[in-house]
Symmetry: C2
Subunit: 196 residues, 2 copies
DNA sequence: AGATGAATTCAACGTGGTTGAATAGCCCCC
DNA sequence: GGGGGCTATTCAACCACGTTGAATTCATCT
Protein backbone atom coordinates (compact mmCIF):
# COMPACT_ATOMS: atom_id res chain seq x y z
CA UNK A 1 0.00 0.00 0.00
CA UNK A 2 3.00 2.34 0.23
CA UNK A 3 3.63 4.80 -2.57
CA UNK A 4 7.15 5.31 -3.73
CA UNK A 5 6.76 7.74 -6.60
CA UNK A 6 5.39 11.25 -6.62
CA UNK A 7 1.89 12.24 -7.70
CA UNK A 8 -1.60 11.33 -6.69
CA UNK A 9 -2.16 7.97 -5.10
CA UNK A 10 -4.78 6.13 -7.09
CA UNK A 11 -7.84 4.50 -5.71
CA UNK A 12 -8.28 5.95 -2.22
CA UNK A 13 -9.94 9.34 -1.95
CA UNK A 14 -10.65 8.74 1.73
CA UNK A 15 -7.25 10.14 2.57
CA UNK A 16 -8.87 13.23 4.01
CA UNK A 17 -10.78 11.07 6.44
CA UNK A 18 -7.61 9.29 7.47
CA UNK A 19 -5.90 12.61 8.16
CA UNK A 20 -8.87 13.80 10.20
CA UNK A 21 -8.90 10.62 12.25
CA UNK A 22 -5.20 10.90 12.97
CA UNK A 23 -5.64 14.56 13.87
CA UNK A 24 -8.49 13.89 16.28
CA UNK A 25 -6.49 11.16 17.99
CA UNK A 26 -3.44 13.37 18.34
CA UNK A 27 -5.25 16.49 19.50
CA UNK A 28 -7.19 14.48 22.05
CA UNK A 29 -4.22 12.54 23.38
CA UNK A 30 -1.52 15.17 23.20
CA UNK A 31 -3.25 18.53 23.03
CA UNK A 32 -2.79 21.33 20.55
CA UNK A 33 0.81 22.29 21.21
CA UNK A 34 2.19 18.76 21.26
CA UNK A 35 0.35 17.80 18.09
CA UNK A 36 2.44 18.32 14.99
CA UNK A 37 1.27 18.44 11.42
CA UNK A 38 4.22 16.28 10.50
CA UNK A 39 3.19 13.73 13.09
CA UNK A 40 -0.40 13.65 11.88
CA UNK A 41 0.86 13.26 8.33
CA UNK A 42 3.12 10.41 9.39
CA UNK A 43 0.24 8.67 11.16
CA UNK A 44 -1.92 9.00 8.07
CA UNK A 45 0.94 7.90 5.80
CA UNK A 46 0.85 11.12 3.87
CA UNK A 47 3.03 14.12 3.13
CA UNK A 48 2.74 17.07 5.55
CA UNK A 49 2.05 19.40 2.65
CA UNK A 50 -1.11 17.45 1.91
CA UNK A 51 -2.44 18.26 5.35
CA UNK A 52 -1.82 21.92 4.61
CA UNK A 53 -3.46 21.54 1.23
CA UNK A 54 -6.63 20.17 2.75
CA UNK A 55 -6.89 22.23 5.92
CA UNK A 56 -4.86 25.35 5.31
CA UNK A 57 -3.11 25.53 8.67
CA UNK A 58 -2.74 23.77 11.96
CA UNK A 59 -5.54 25.95 13.23
CA UNK A 60 -7.77 24.87 10.37
CA UNK A 61 -6.95 21.26 11.08
CA UNK A 62 -7.97 21.68 14.71
CA UNK A 63 -11.21 23.31 13.69
CA UNK A 64 -12.04 20.59 11.19
CA UNK A 65 -11.12 17.86 13.65
CA UNK A 66 -12.91 19.03 16.76
CA UNK A 67 -15.76 21.27 15.62
CA UNK A 68 -18.84 19.21 16.21
CA UNK A 69 -17.16 17.28 19.00
CA UNK A 70 -19.04 19.12 21.73
CA UNK A 71 -21.65 16.83 23.25
CA UNK A 72 -24.77 18.76 22.43
CA UNK A 73 -27.16 15.84 22.34
CA UNK A 74 -25.72 14.29 25.48
CA UNK A 75 -26.61 17.44 27.37
CA UNK A 76 -29.94 17.99 25.68
CA UNK A 77 -31.41 14.91 27.36
CA UNK A 78 -31.17 16.73 30.68
CA UNK A 79 -33.63 19.33 29.44
CA UNK A 80 -36.64 17.08 29.47
CA UNK A 81 -38.25 16.79 32.87
CA UNK A 82 -39.35 18.94 35.72
CA UNK A 83 -37.89 22.45 35.55
CA UNK A 84 -37.56 22.62 39.30
CA UNK A 85 -34.91 19.89 39.25
CA UNK A 86 -33.24 20.99 36.03
CA UNK A 87 -30.18 22.32 37.84
CA UNK A 88 -29.34 18.96 39.36
CA UNK A 89 -29.99 17.05 36.13
CA UNK A 90 -27.85 19.42 34.12
CA UNK A 91 -25.02 19.34 36.62
CA UNK A 92 -25.01 15.56 36.75
CA UNK A 93 -25.17 15.21 32.98
CA UNK A 94 -22.40 17.74 32.58
CA UNK A 95 -20.15 15.83 34.94
CA UNK A 96 -20.93 12.57 33.18
CA UNK A 97 -20.01 14.11 29.86
CA UNK A 98 -16.64 15.18 31.22
CA UNK A 99 -16.00 11.76 32.68
CA UNK A 100 -17.17 9.65 29.79
CA UNK A 101 -14.28 8.10 27.88
CA UNK A 102 -16.21 8.92 24.73
CA UNK A 103 -16.88 12.62 25.12
CA UNK A 104 -14.60 13.63 27.98
CA UNK A 105 -11.25 13.61 26.20
CA UNK A 106 -12.61 15.70 23.35
CA UNK A 107 -13.95 18.39 25.64
CA UNK A 108 -10.67 18.46 27.49
CA UNK A 109 -8.86 18.89 24.20
CA UNK A 110 -11.07 21.80 23.19
CA UNK A 111 -11.21 23.62 26.49
CA UNK A 112 -7.53 23.00 27.08
CA UNK A 113 -6.63 24.57 23.75
CA UNK A 114 -8.72 27.70 24.13
CA UNK A 115 -5.69 29.87 24.68
CA UNK A 116 -3.51 28.09 22.14
CA UNK A 117 -5.59 28.51 19.03
CA UNK A 118 -8.47 30.76 18.00
CA UNK A 119 -10.36 27.79 16.64
CA UNK A 120 -10.80 26.30 20.09
CA UNK A 121 -12.12 29.53 21.55
CA UNK A 122 -14.55 29.91 18.66
CA UNK A 123 -15.80 26.36 18.99
CA UNK A 124 -16.35 26.89 22.69
CA UNK A 125 -18.07 30.22 22.14
CA UNK A 126 -20.39 28.73 19.52
CA UNK A 127 -21.16 25.85 21.81
CA UNK A 128 -21.94 27.91 24.89
CA UNK A 129 -23.94 30.58 23.22
CA UNK A 130 -25.48 28.65 20.35
CA UNK A 131 -25.80 25.00 21.12
CA UNK A 132 -26.15 25.03 24.88
CA UNK A 133 -27.57 28.37 25.92
CA UNK A 134 -30.12 28.73 23.14
CA UNK A 135 -32.05 25.49 23.70
CA UNK A 136 -31.61 25.85 27.42
CA UNK A 137 -33.02 29.37 27.33
CA UNK A 138 -36.04 28.12 25.42
CA UNK A 139 -37.03 25.78 28.20
CA UNK A 140 -36.78 28.42 30.91
CA UNK A 141 -39.91 30.09 32.25
CA UNK A 142 -38.50 33.25 33.88
CA UNK A 143 -37.20 36.55 32.59
CA UNK A 144 -33.84 37.01 30.81
CA UNK A 145 -33.49 33.35 29.83
CA UNK A 146 -30.29 33.92 27.82
CA UNK A 147 -28.58 35.54 30.76
CA UNK A 148 -29.71 32.74 33.03
CA UNK A 149 -28.45 30.11 30.64
CA UNK A 150 -25.02 31.70 30.29
CA UNK A 151 -24.64 32.18 34.03
CA UNK A 152 -25.42 28.50 34.52
CA UNK A 153 -23.01 27.49 31.78
CA UNK A 154 -20.24 29.60 33.29
CA UNK A 155 -20.81 27.98 36.67
CA UNK A 156 -20.59 24.51 35.16
CA UNK A 157 -17.49 25.38 33.17
CA UNK A 158 -15.73 26.75 36.24
CA UNK A 159 -16.50 23.56 38.12
CA UNK A 160 -15.18 21.35 35.33
CA UNK A 161 -12.14 23.54 34.83
CA UNK A 162 -11.12 23.34 38.47
CA UNK A 163 -11.89 19.65 38.74
CA UNK A 164 -10.66 18.18 35.49
CA UNK A 165 -8.09 20.56 34.05
CA UNK A 166 -6.50 22.01 37.16
CA UNK A 167 -7.35 19.01 39.33
CA UNK A 168 -7.21 21.18 42.42
CA UNK A 169 -8.06 19.65 45.76
CA UNK A 170 -10.43 19.02 47.36
CA UNK A 171 -12.52 19.49 44.24
CA UNK A 172 -10.81 16.75 42.26
CA UNK A 173 -11.62 14.06 44.79
CA UNK A 174 -15.24 14.95 45.46
CA UNK A 175 -17.74 12.43 44.20
CA UNK A 176 -20.22 13.13 41.46
CA UNK A 177 -23.08 13.01 43.93
CA UNK A 178 -21.41 15.48 46.26
CA UNK A 179 -20.84 17.87 43.39
CA UNK A 180 -24.42 17.57 42.20
CA UNK A 181 -25.66 18.34 45.68
CA UNK A 182 -23.24 21.23 46.14
CA UNK A 183 -23.33 22.87 42.73
CA UNK A 184 -26.76 21.84 41.46
CA UNK A 185 -28.69 24.34 43.59
CA UNK A 186 -26.52 27.18 42.35
CA UNK A 187 -27.24 26.18 38.77
CA UNK A 188 -30.89 25.91 39.64
CA UNK A 189 -30.82 29.41 41.09
CA UNK A 190 -29.43 30.79 37.85
CA UNK A 191 -32.08 28.99 35.83
CA UNK A 192 -35.21 29.71 37.81
CA UNK A 193 -34.28 31.68 40.91
CA UNK A 194 -34.23 35.34 41.76
CA UNK A 195 -31.39 37.20 40.09
CA UNK A 196 -31.89 40.50 41.90
CA UNK B 1 25.05 50.39 24.10
CA UNK B 2 25.34 47.47 21.64
CA UNK B 3 27.99 44.84 22.19
CA UNK B 4 29.94 43.63 19.22
CA UNK B 5 32.43 41.23 20.75
CA UNK B 6 31.90 38.02 22.63
CA UNK B 7 32.07 37.59 26.37
CA UNK B 8 30.44 39.09 29.40
CA UNK B 9 29.24 42.66 29.15
CA UNK B 10 30.85 44.67 31.93
CA UNK B 11 29.11 46.84 34.42
CA UNK B 12 25.45 45.74 34.33
CA UNK B 13 24.52 42.69 36.36
CA UNK B 14 20.83 43.67 36.17
CA UNK B 15 20.56 41.83 32.88
CA UNK B 16 18.44 39.18 34.54
CA UNK B 17 15.93 41.84 35.53
CA UNK B 18 15.85 43.18 32.01
CA UNK B 19 15.13 39.71 30.65
CA UNK B 20 12.37 39.19 33.20
CA UNK B 21 10.78 42.53 32.34
CA UNK B 22 10.84 41.74 28.64
CA UNK B 23 9.42 38.30 29.35
CA UNK B 24 6.56 39.63 31.46
CA UNK B 25 5.67 42.15 28.79
CA UNK B 26 5.70 39.54 26.05
CA UNK B 27 3.78 36.86 27.95
CA UNK B 28 1.17 39.40 28.97
CA UNK B 29 0.75 40.96 25.54
CA UNK B 30 1.16 37.92 23.33
CA UNK B 31 0.53 34.87 25.49
CA UNK B 32 2.69 31.82 25.96
CA UNK B 33 2.70 30.37 22.47
CA UNK B 34 3.40 33.63 20.67
CA UNK B 35 6.19 34.56 23.05
CA UNK B 36 9.56 33.39 21.80
CA UNK B 37 12.77 33.12 23.77
CA UNK B 38 14.55 34.70 20.86
CA UNK B 39 12.15 37.61 20.91
CA UNK B 40 12.57 38.15 24.63
CA UNK B 41 16.33 38.00 24.18
CA UNK B 42 16.12 40.53 21.36
CA UNK B 43 14.03 42.88 23.50
CA UNK B 44 16.53 42.61 26.35
CA UNK B 45 19.46 43.02 23.94
CA UNK B 46 20.89 39.68 24.92
CA UNK B 47 21.70 36.32 23.39
CA UNK B 48 18.94 33.67 23.50
CA UNK B 49 21.31 31.25 25.18
CA UNK B 50 21.60 33.61 28.11
CA UNK B 51 17.89 33.33 28.73
CA UNK B 52 18.29 29.58 28.79
CA UNK B 53 21.26 29.90 31.10
CA UNK B 54 19.26 31.89 33.62
CA UNK B 55 15.89 30.20 33.41
CA UNK B 56 16.52 26.76 32.01
CA UNK B 57 13.63 26.62 29.59
CA UNK B 58 10.73 28.59 28.21
CA UNK B 59 8.61 27.02 30.89
CA UNK B 60 11.04 28.17 33.57
CA UNK B 61 10.99 31.64 32.14
CA UNK B 62 7.21 31.74 32.35
CA UNK B 63 7.30 30.54 35.91
CA UNK B 64 9.89 33.11 36.93
CA UNK B 65 8.05 35.89 35.11
CA UNK B 66 4.52 35.28 36.32
CA UNK B 67 4.73 33.41 39.58
CA UNK B 68 3.79 35.95 42.19
CA UNK B 69 1.68 37.85 39.71
CA UNK B 70 -1.57 36.58 41.15
CA UNK B 71 -3.29 39.35 43.09
CA UNK B 72 -3.41 37.79 46.50
CA UNK B 73 -3.43 40.98 48.53
CA UNK B 74 -5.97 42.62 46.27
CA UNK B 75 -8.40 39.83 47.03
CA UNK B 76 -7.53 39.59 50.71
CA UNK B 77 -9.07 42.99 51.42
CA UNK B 78 -12.47 41.51 50.63
CA UNK B 79 -12.12 39.13 53.57
CA UNK B 80 -12.47 41.77 56.24
CA UNK B 81 -16.06 42.65 57.02
CA UNK B 82 -19.35 40.96 57.66
CA UNK B 83 -19.35 37.30 56.66
CA UNK B 84 -22.93 37.49 55.51
CA UNK B 85 -21.95 39.80 52.66
CA UNK B 86 -18.63 38.15 51.90
CA UNK B 87 -19.92 36.63 48.66
CA UNK B 88 -20.77 39.98 47.16
CA UNK B 89 -17.54 41.62 48.30
CA UNK B 90 -15.44 38.78 46.95
CA UNK B 91 -17.27 38.74 43.64
CA UNK B 92 -16.87 42.47 43.18
CA UNK B 93 -13.22 42.45 44.15
CA UNK B 94 -12.57 39.52 41.83
CA UNK B 95 -14.14 41.36 38.92
CA UNK B 96 -12.17 44.48 39.69
CA UNK B 97 -8.96 42.49 39.72
CA UNK B 98 -9.71 41.10 36.27
CA UNK B 99 -10.54 44.54 34.94
CA UNK B 100 -7.69 46.47 36.48
CA UNK B 101 -5.04 47.39 33.92
CA UNK B 102 -2.49 46.51 36.57
CA UNK B 103 -3.52 43.00 37.56
CA UNK B 104 -5.96 42.01 34.83
CA UNK B 105 -3.54 41.35 31.97
CA UNK B 106 -1.33 39.19 34.15
CA UNK B 107 -4.18 36.99 35.26
CA UNK B 108 -5.32 36.62 31.70
CA UNK B 109 -1.80 35.59 30.71
CA UNK B 110 -1.66 32.95 33.42
CA UNK B 111 -5.14 31.53 33.03
CA UNK B 112 -4.85 31.65 29.26
CA UNK B 113 -1.65 29.62 29.33
CA UNK B 114 -2.88 26.89 31.63
CA UNK B 115 -3.05 24.36 28.87
CA UNK B 116 0.09 25.51 27.11
CA UNK B 117 2.63 25.08 29.86
CA UNK B 118 2.73 23.19 33.16
CA UNK B 119 4.04 26.27 34.92
CA UNK B 120 0.81 28.17 34.38
CA UNK B 121 -1.30 25.30 35.71
CA UNK B 122 0.93 24.99 38.75
CA UNK B 123 0.80 28.70 39.47
CA UNK B 124 -2.96 28.63 39.22
CA UNK B 125 -3.23 25.55 41.40
CA UNK B 126 -1.00 27.07 44.07
CA UNK B 127 -3.01 30.24 43.95
CA UNK B 128 -6.40 28.63 44.22
CA UNK B 129 -5.59 26.10 46.84
CA UNK B 130 -2.87 27.93 48.77
CA UNK B 131 -3.19 31.64 48.48
CA UNK B 132 -6.91 32.04 47.99
CA UNK B 133 -8.65 29.03 49.49
CA UNK B 134 -6.55 28.74 52.61
CA UNK B 135 -7.05 32.26 54.02
CA UNK B 136 -10.62 32.22 52.78
CA UNK B 137 -11.29 28.96 54.55
CA UNK B 138 -9.90 30.38 57.77
CA UNK B 139 -12.50 33.12 57.85
CA UNK B 140 -15.43 30.77 57.29
CA UNK B 141 -17.60 29.67 60.18
CA UNK B 142 -19.29 26.55 58.81
CA UNK B 143 -18.21 22.99 58.18
CA UNK B 144 -15.85 21.90 55.39
CA UNK B 145 -14.34 25.33 54.87
CA UNK B 146 -11.79 24.15 52.28
CA UNK B 147 -14.47 22.63 50.15
CA UNK B 148 -16.57 25.78 50.43
CA UNK B 149 -13.62 27.95 49.45
CA UNK B 150 -12.78 25.88 46.38
CA UNK B 151 -16.38 25.76 45.23
CA UNK B 152 -16.54 29.53 45.47
CA UNK B 153 -13.23 29.91 43.65
CA UNK B 154 -14.40 27.63 40.86
CA UNK B 155 -17.58 29.66 40.49
CA UNK B 156 -15.61 32.89 40.24
CA UNK B 157 -13.15 31.42 37.77
CA UNK B 158 -15.93 30.15 35.52
CA UNK B 159 -17.49 33.59 35.51
CA UNK B 160 -14.20 35.27 34.61
CA UNK B 161 -13.40 32.65 32.01
CA UNK B 162 -16.67 33.12 30.19
CA UNK B 163 -16.61 36.88 30.49
CA UNK B 164 -12.98 37.81 29.85
CA UNK B 165 -11.38 34.96 27.95
CA UNK B 166 -14.25 33.66 25.87
CA UNK B 167 -16.11 36.97 25.87
CA UNK B 168 -19.37 35.15 25.28
CA UNK B 169 -22.58 37.13 25.18
CA UNK B 170 -24.56 38.27 27.06
CA UNK B 171 -22.02 37.73 29.82
CA UNK B 172 -19.39 40.00 28.33
CA UNK B 173 -21.66 43.02 28.27
CA UNK B 174 -23.19 42.71 31.70
CA UNK B 175 -22.15 45.39 34.14
CA UNK B 176 -20.11 44.72 37.23
CA UNK B 177 -23.10 45.48 39.43
CA UNK B 178 -25.32 43.10 37.55
CA UNK B 179 -22.75 40.36 37.91
CA UNK B 180 -22.30 41.00 41.61
CA UNK B 181 -26.04 40.78 42.10
CA UNK B 182 -26.36 37.65 39.98
CA UNK B 183 -23.30 35.69 41.00
CA UNK B 184 -22.65 37.02 44.49
CA UNK B 185 -25.46 35.04 46.15
CA UNK B 186 -24.16 31.81 44.64
CA UNK B 187 -20.71 32.52 46.02
CA UNK B 188 -22.31 33.36 49.36
CA UNK B 189 -24.15 30.08 49.34
CA UNK B 190 -20.91 28.18 48.87
CA UNK B 191 -19.26 30.09 51.69
CA UNK B 192 -21.94 30.01 54.35
CA UNK B 193 -25.01 28.29 52.95
CA UNK B 194 -26.32 24.75 53.13
CA UNK B 195 -24.34 22.35 50.91
CA UNK B 196 -26.62 19.39 51.41
C1' DA C 1 49.34 36.42 39.75
C1' DG C 2 46.63 32.47 39.15
C1' DA C 3 42.58 29.91 39.72
C1' DT C 4 37.66 29.72 40.00
C1' DG C 5 33.31 30.52 38.65
C1' DA C 6 29.68 33.20 36.69
C1' DA C 7 28.04 36.02 32.76
C1' DT C 8 27.84 36.16 28.06
C1' DT C 9 28.21 35.03 23.20
C1' DC C 10 28.51 32.09 18.92
C1' DA C 11 27.51 28.42 16.11
C1' DA C 12 25.06 24.49 15.47
C1' DC C 13 21.33 20.77 15.71
C1' DG C 14 16.82 19.06 15.25
C1' DT C 15 12.07 20.05 14.66
C1' DG C 16 8.14 22.62 13.40
C1' DG C 17 4.70 25.23 10.32
C1' DT C 18 4.40 26.69 5.94
C1' DT C 19 5.31 27.43 0.81
C1' DG C 20 6.11 26.74 -4.26
C1' DA C 21 6.86 24.09 -7.80
C1' DA C 22 6.38 19.71 -9.85
C1' DT C 23 4.05 15.26 -11.05
C1' DA C 24 0.25 11.84 -11.56
C1' DG C 25 -4.23 10.47 -12.17
C1' DC C 26 -9.06 11.57 -13.25
C1' DC C 27 -12.98 13.85 -15.85
C1' DC C 28 -15.01 16.74 -19.38
C1' DC C 29 -15.50 18.51 -23.88
C1' DC C 30 -14.76 18.72 -28.78
C1' DG D 1 -9.89 9.62 -28.55
C1' DG D 2 -6.94 13.03 -27.49
C1' DG D 3 -6.00 17.24 -25.23
C1' DG D 4 -7.05 20.75 -21.27
C1' DG D 5 -7.80 21.40 -16.81
C1' DC D 6 -8.66 20.24 -12.10
C1' DT D 7 -7.34 17.86 -7.91
C1' DA D 8 -4.59 14.83 -5.12
C1' DT D 9 -0.14 14.11 -3.93
C1' DT D 10 4.80 14.55 -3.25
C1' DC D 11 9.45 16.81 -2.84
C1' DA D 12 12.55 20.13 -1.53
C1' DA D 13 13.29 24.12 0.61
C1' DC D 14 12.74 28.28 3.90
C1' DC D 15 12.69 30.39 8.09
C1' DA D 16 11.85 30.57 13.00
C1' DC D 17 11.93 28.20 17.08
C1' DG D 18 13.80 25.80 21.63
C1' DT D 19 17.74 23.95 23.10
C1' DT D 20 22.77 22.58 23.56
C1' DG D 21 27.92 22.75 23.85
C1' DA D 22 31.88 24.92 23.62
C1' DA D 23 34.32 29.14 23.83
C1' DT D 24 35.36 33.77 25.73
C1' DT D 25 35.37 37.57 28.98
C1' DC D 26 35.13 39.54 33.36
C1' DA D 27 35.07 39.87 38.51
C1' DT D 28 36.47 38.01 42.67
C1' DC D 29 38.99 35.14 45.97
C1' DT D 30 43.28 33.21 47.45
Amino acid sequence: MESSKTGRRPGTPQTKEAILDAAIASFVESGYAATTIRGVARAADVDPALVMHFFGSKDGLFDAALRGAMPVRELAVALSGDVSSLGARLTRRYLEVWESPETGPRIRAIVGSIASTPAAAQIMRDFMSGELATPLAKSLPGDQPERRAILAAAQLMGMAFARYLLAVEPMASMTTDELVISVGPSVQRYLTGDLG
